[in-house]
Amino acid sequence: MAIIERPDTATVPAVVTPSQAFGVIKRPVASSGWREWLFTVDHKKIGIMYGAVALFFFIVGGVEALLIRLQLAAPDGRILSADQYNQMFTMHGTTMVFLFGMPMAAAFANYFLPLQIGARDVAFPRLNALSLWLLVVGGLILNASWFLGGAADGGWFMYAPNSGPVFSPSNGVDYWVLGLQVAGLASLIGSINLIVTVLNMRAPGMTLMKMPIFTWMILVVQFLLVFSLPVITVALVLLMFQRSYGATFFDVSQGADPLLWQHLFWIFGHPEVYVLILPAFGIISEVLPTFSRKPLFGYPFVVFSGAAIGLVGFGVWAHHMFASGLGPVSVAVFSIATMAIAIPTGVKVFNWLLTMWGGKIWYTTAMKFAIGLVTLFTIGGLSGVTHSVAPSDTQQTDTYYIVAHFHYVLFGGMVFGLFSGFYYWWPKVFGKMLNEKLGSWNFWLMVIGMNMTFGPMHILGLQGQPRRMYVWTEARAGEGFFNLGFWNLIASIGSFILAAGVLFFLINIVHTAKKGKVAPADPWDARTLEWITTNPPKPHNFDRIPVVHHLDEFFHRKYAEDTATHTMKRYATAEEVIKAEEDAADAHIHLPSPSYWPLVLALGIGVLCMGVVYGVPVMVVGAAILVFSVFGWVLEPSTADDSEIDPPSVDGSTKEIAPIG
């Protein structure tokens, strides 16, 4: 696949030689071919693989969405059976949330977070690789269900007791439970890793309030994950024990309370919404200043509002349950708390607009997607406020109005933010510029398609069409030209326009890989540390760890204010800034060595999970692999000898510089 193609680069990759005396078995040594990717612990390669996996699942989830819209284009659709439809929307939601949204944010975080803080890798490179492989295993388990008797069919929030063995007798929910536990473990490990990286490995001089905003948002997200993932894990474990081992946690005939699941799920599920959206906020908070040639307006406010959204996000979960029979007091409290969360969100929108105010806006595709987010997310945010009004929500929840709302937030918000990131950072990652013309097609088709698909859903929902119905009937569709049938058809047509937009992105990837323009050092006149190195970065990221004096350090190395005229004057080119760093390269750069263990351990966990469905012998095999690889891992030092892995200089000679103080 084009996205993981290794681009041409003048930089020679680090030569890794076998390390003799360490570990249980010999370390992997390949620095080319598939082995280089499979056993890598380089955060950049891992980031690219995260991106490739997430993009793959984006396409899978997208095809599922198209089938859903085909089914609903006309009344009494016959494309899918009820059972297939239920599996389709369940897996569409699950895939988009857990296998596209989260991993794609992880892709950006993995790649750019160390670069933005001036680090050479993340704190725990092997754990980083483990996160990736666990995600892959989780995604495979989830989707294997399609071929092993049918996928999960209870909706992405899998309400009990409908998820129990009586109501969902196929193994779909079992695979779902297992796949999500594995993917959750991946995210938990990843989040701990990234928090430690941010807190401990920032470049000299980079105080927390000089940290790039993308890194800040990722940091908030990782805290949300650390504290919300265990809660869903509890819910999943309870469901697994019920389905596979005879427990009765959600069996009402034994006195269980089905609302337990809803509380556990949404205590996780609401922070999860911010887990999905905040990385996109972070991306566009980098893109908007860059292309407006101005710093982010009110940086501290954006940071604190991000943190506030994260914090309050833990206290609003029950707004997903306004119709589920909570008492009026709880409903009132959660209703007000939900309104409160609109305030920091509004602050962000205003700050983005004011960042552009007085700027010098350059409309690249990245910028277009960023302002697309600002406008579309505003619409989604406002429909969100109408949901926070609990009595109104009892009319709106579980209808297409809420489907419209969260697609404006997650498609108009998250996906547009991620696409902005693709166009902005592609030259950094692959050393080539994505084509702007194809980008323009990509953007406009997505804007038109997105509004055609999800805009009409506001009307469908308010006029009474519930979600999750495999068919709708003409008897309830109303009269007139603009009846619900008309809007269902428009939404279905829109979804294909949307898909065409995404197709242009895929074409753009292939086109760029084949004959894309080689990226200059600083194509966007950017502002942050990741640009103070080559495109793509060297394996060790920076020849010298940059010293930070400013927020937007890179920009301030290029520009200074002319005090006489009060204008910004450029006094260095990007090439000069990068050259200055290269000339003062650190000696003895140590990079972690590749390892087999993350992949083996992830496979072991996968086999262990399949044991839940296929019985104890499989489980024993999985456990054996698991134990073996944990010990192999612990006994393997994270780096081999210095001499073995120092990256050679460009001319191939060994550079010996006295260590810096």
Binding site: G298, A323, L462, G464, R476
Partner: protein, 405 residues
């Protein structure tokens, strides 16, 4: 000065026009007479919610148009036209604080009204009639406990259509026998989940007699899409007639008629799950159904006075043909009771769907994806199974069912 004020007033005009266009575009773009329209309240509870909507939606509209208008202006105004790179200012705290406080103030106004409405809607003290509503896959059962003030002297159990007096405060006590369902008649109130093991309260009241459509709103499995409901508000007099009719004694068909043969088929094939009050076997013993032995939820619709209902199979199908259905749905409020109380006469019966249903119910309505996976429910069905009835049996059954008025 002059220019500034002109610009200001023209901006105001543009803003006003934009609000108007957006609002009217949305309204014009809507379906007419959509049966489940949430913006056509027909009772006090739904009206309370709609009043809130009338506050919140315009605010959201105006805020949205201001923000999006501002955004468009910025996108245009600050486009790169070769201007200098601006000085790198980092924001103005007073502006930030203003932009935090203003939304907070707007939201507190909304919050106060929301707060009040939440508690108003939760009011149940002044209830006038209680109806128990039980959801199961994929139909609703309505059970009227004894309430002599409404003429209900023995419990009435019915399904498909919730019949209640208009202008009366009805309290639904909801629960479920299997998974979570959600009771939702948009014209009368918001939705409330029916959760197994719990009883949730939902108040309904209709201003006028009429038919109000609804739909199960919580995903409840295969036929979630087919779990509909209709709420029938009758004038108090008409409701009294309906109640009296539901409680009248069972009249067995005259011996030797095709209806009597149908009764025999019914007893042999249907009476295990479906109850007809007053039905007796040859020995004169009352026949009591035992759906709990065959159906996982432990219930099947009570068919007493079946032909007073307009729908069957969870309101998925009409029991009346299209013409008669149009008579009821289209009846003006004052004539509605009369039209509804006519019930289903032979010439009104929707023979096609009813016969198809009796022939093979699972084919008509998805009920279990894999019949061979009934293990976890001890072999019990969810919904009506395939009964392998002959065409002859079906003829007799239809004739018999028509007597259940």
């Amino acid at each position: 000065m002059d220019t500034v004020s002109r610009v200001k007033s023209s901006r105001r005009r543009i803003l006003g026009t934009l609000v108007g266009i957006a609002a009217s575009a949305t309204l014009a773009g809507c379906a007419q007479n959509a049966p489940q329209d949430t913006w056509e309240p027909k009772g006090p509870n739904a009206e309370m919610i709609h009043d809130l909507d009338n506050l919140v939606f315009p605010i959201a509209y105006v805020v949205g148009i201001i923000v999006l208008g501002l955004a468009l202006y910025i996108f245009w105004k600050f486009k790169d036209r070769g201007q200098e790179i601006p000085v790198q200012g980092h924001g103005k705290p007073y502006m930030e604080i203003t932009l935090t406080v203003v939304p907070a103030l707007i939201l507190s106004v909304v919050g106060v009204f929301t707060f009040r409405t939440i508690f108003d809607l939760a009011e149940t003290q002044d209830t006038e009639i209680v109806i128990n509503v039980t959801g199961q896959q994929w139909w609703w059962e309505y059970d009227y406990p004894v309430q002599p003030e409404h003429g209900i002297n023995q419990p009435i159990v019915t399904s498909g259509q919730l019949v209640f007096p208009a202008g009366t405060k009805v309290l639904l006590r909801e629960t479920s026998r299997d998974v979570i369902h959600s009771y939702w008649i948009p014209a009368l109130n918001g939705k409330k989940d029916a959760v197994p093991g719990r009883v949730h309260l939902l108040r309904l009241e209709a201003n006028e007699p009429g038919l109000y459509a609804g739909q199960c709103a919580e995903f409840c499995g295969l036929s979630h899409a087919n779990m509909r409901m209709e709420a029938i508000a009758l004038s108090k007099e008409d409701f009294a007639k309906w109640v009296a009719n539901q409680q009248k004694a069972y009249v067995p068909p005259a011996a030797g008629t095709v209806e009597a043969e149908g009764e025999a088929v019914y007893i042999a094939q249907c009476a295990r799950c479906h109850q007809v009050n007053g039905l007796k076997d040859a020995q004169g013993k009352p026949i009591i159904s035992a759906p709990d032995e065959y159906v996982y939820s432990g219930a099947a619709p009570n068919l007493t006075a079946l032909m007073t209902r307009n729908t069957f199979a969870g309101a998925m199908f009409d029991l009346v043909n299209e013409k008669c259905r149009a008579d009821v749905w289209g009846a003006p409020s004052e004539k509605f009771g009369e039209a509804y109380l006519k019930g289903v006469t032979e010439d009104c019966l929707n023979q096609k769907d009813l016969r198809a249903w009796l022939r093979n119910a699972p084919e008509m309505k998805p009920m279990y994806a894999e019949p061979n996976l009934l293990g976890p429910s001890d072999g019990k069905y969810r919904g009506m199974p395939y009964l392998a009835l002959t065409e002859d049996d079906i003829d007799k059954l239809v004739a018999y069912l028509l007597t259940l008025k």
